[in-house]
Symmetry: C2
Subunit: 159 residues, 2 copies
């Protein structure tokens, strides 16, 4: 239990929660072994669980129409969190997640976390605020990449 | 006052707030006239206000290194909200906003809204949750654009 609380504490999503709030979250967390090549979820499918990496590595991927995969990120750090689309309407995963190295994750059911949030609005406010921060950061990264692509296109167009 | 409440109600950020919560928000909102060409804020600068469009049009822009502007969005709908980076650490605007047509906006100081949120965690939870939904949507749009650019690059590379 203490180990789970410490793992949750190292995850950006749960930063700022009290010990009591972390304990409640640990009670709804379930450890799961993952195997290399195993899909944890698929883009566009109903998002009903959020994950926190304990060991191993997980790739986040989006698919380009013709079946070509565009890698978005590879998570290796303990406490990395993924599947947060399960906390945001319309509750559909926005990326696919595949295990890149054997390991383990904590899985938290969206319904269980929503129940905690509805009972403790302060906790909800902290989680949602942490999530907004992360999403804004990722949006800035995506825009930065877009800028690089624009520049590359200009170069191609000029030559 | 009722007019301001109705305008706030039409903004995605304030969706789901109670009448009382909307009234409190209207009390910290200030109407401001805007003139075509006027900058409301600049990318990378401290974000201390959030805006809600009442009339006119506002462009959201990012700058590519060499001074070339990349337009991100043009807001024309009453109730469109912008400057939400003022509610997310590190509190720096992630885009620039320039008035594209004369009109008016509601301006809400970040410090005033933060005070309301700290007194009413339920309200905070609703605002942050609405913001996360919007940010995730925008992130998906940015990724979609990235996919299109990748495809264009492939085409260039093949020819």
């Amino acid at each position: 239990m203490i180990e789970v609380v410490m793992l949750l504490q190292s995850c950006y999503l749960f930063k700022g929660l009290s010990e009591q709030q972390l304990r409640c979250t640990s009670e709804i967390s379930k450890e799961m072994q993952i195997k290399k090549g195993q899909w944890l979820f698929h883009e566009g499918k109903p998002a009903d669980q959020i994950f926190c990496l304990k060991q191993g590595a997980v790739e986040l991927i989006t698919e380009i129409d013709d079946g070509f995969e565009l890698p978005i990120k590879i998570l290796r750090s303990k406490g990395s969190c993924f599947g947060i689309a399960s906390l945001v309407a319309p509750y559909l995963y926005s990326l696919s997640a595949r295990c890149a190295e054997d390991g383990s994750v904590l899985a938290i059911k969206q319904a269980d976390l929503e129940r905690l949030i509805s009972q403790d609005h302060e906790m909800g406010c902290i989680l949602m605020s942490n999530m907004s921060r992360d999403l804004l950061e990722r949006l800035k990264e995506a825009r930065q990449e877009l800028k690089i692509h624009f520049k590359t296109l200009f170069k191609f167009a000029r030559t």
